[in-house]
Amino acid sequence: MDWFGAYSWINMRYLLQGLLVTIQVSVISIILSFIIGAVLGVVRYSKIKYVSAIVGFIIDLVRNLPLLLIIFFTYFGLPTFGIRLDIMVAAITALTVFESAMCAEIFRSGIKAVSPGQMEAARANGMTYVQAMFHVVFPQAMKLMIPPLLSQFVSLVKDTSLATIIVLPEMLYHAQNIYGQNTNYLIPIFVALAGMYWVVCFSLSLLAKFFDKRMSA
């Protein structure tokens, strides 16, 4: 076990480069899936004839499939249909598709929990459905939704590690390269890898607790 050699600046910088990719992919996917998830959640809740049911069914399908399968399909399967994506775009797409479906459910539950009286009052005051949804219902639903949403985002950061199988140069892939070249680095690199993930995810969950306290105040 070579701790000193493992933690050389060269290796650590290589790991950090991986961390950068992990963060990039996570942030882009988070933003996209938040927006798409919100839209889908509203559609799902609104019970628009046929559309809601179809959207709901697709969301259920995606939520019940392993993310790994979605990644494989996006990267290896889509070219058959003429859709060709490079590795990073494929990873972001797959993550976004999966996380949007998960977020949609969170949004739907959150909106549902806000009393229907709010919607009625807003409509009675002359707002359109969409205005009422985004100006009245959403802000109140946010209180309930922020913890599960943030927890979903922590999941997303962790799930980026799955993209190592399509050679996305994220943190786990870089770590595997390092200990693949020198087996004495195995445990030190593992500790560093787990540590870095932990710092990022734990910080996000602290953020969640912070928001939780502020919102309940």
């Binding site: 290796n11 798409i36 060709r84 490079d86 775009v89 797409t93 693949g180």
Partner: protein, 273 residues
């Protein structure tokens, strides 16, 4: 968020998605040779975790190896000095997808020329003859592939034809497929199997830095490596073939072989041409 703002955002997202889709498609279908000449850049797919063949040097983030040098030499001769050579790391699992996706123009990644693969991509003439074999830990009682009997385990690479071949030679051994060479070797070192199978050129690279492991037995297949390009790219394929032949004729090809494999005991240039 106002309704109109939301709609704008959604349209932007969809436009970006379509753009990504569109970009990929055009890159793969256009004539690569012409594109390389116009844009003065070419993208090769190479292995990044195989010593001597294609390995990523963590120190300077550069790829080095026989196939890396071959790609650089070919590009220089085909298109001149001013064409930028880009490399994308591939594994046995991902190399075909990357080529079909248009993310790379050509593939030089220890890929054996096989009829099933020929249906999907085009190959150049053979540039290397390897053979499949196994490596074991020093002191292991297994001295050749046939000794992998029931109860033993052997690791192979996903997407590589070495998995099917080892099943023919050692039908009773359990074959474990792992995503790439780095993972496979790590698993072997952790005792997950009694042996690892791959082509000898790849295994040479592994044992060169790990004296605890050695090749066992003679190669039991012949693997002809070819450079792969997407179907319908006759121009670049012809160029590659012509340039390969020229390199072999004027001795620069042999020089490259000796540079990377000369230190291997028992290596004969004639064996691999």
């Amino acid at each position: 968020m106002k309704k109109s703002k939301l709609l704008t955002l959604i349209t932007l997202i969809m436009a970006t998605a379509l753009l990504a889709v569109g970009c990929g498609k055009s890159v793969a279908d256009k004539n690569i040779s012409t594109r390389v000449e116009e844009e003065k850049s070419i993208t090769w797919g190479v292995k990044s975790d195989l010593r001597l063949v294609g390995l990523l040097n963590i120190k300077d983030n550069k790829l080095e190896g026989f196939e890396v040098d071959l790609a650089k030499a070919l590009t220089k001769r085909m298109y001149g000095d001013d064409v930028k050579v880009n490399f994308v790391p591939v594994t046995s699992n991902t190399r075909m997808a990357l080529l079909k996706n248009g993310n790379i123009d050509a593939l030089v990644a220890t890929m054996t020329i096989l009829p099933e693969r020929k249906k999907v991509v085009d190959f150049s003439d053979s540039y290397f003859t390897a053979g499949q074999t196994i490596i074991v830990k020093k002191g292991s009682k297994i001295t050749n592939p046939q000794e992998l009997v029931a109860g033993t385990k052997v690791i192979g690479l996903q997407g590589s034809n070495s998995v099917q071949n080892i099943k023919k030679v050692a039908p009773l051994s359990q074959v474990l497929e792992l995503p790439d060479a780095a993972q496979a070797f790590s698993a072997l070192q952790s005792g997950q199997a009694d042996a690892m199978t791959s082509d000898n050129v790849m295994l040479y690279g592994l044992v060169s830095d790990n004296p605890n492991y050695q090749l066992a037995g003679k190669p039991f297949t012949t693997e002809e490596y070819g450079i792969a390009v997407n179907k319908g790219q006759k121009d670049i394929l012809n160029k590659i073939n012509k340039t390969l032949a020229a390199m072999k004729k004027d001795g620069s090809y042999n020089k490259l072989l000796l540079k990377w494999f000369g230190q291997i005991p028992g290596f004969k240039v004639g064996d691999v041409q």
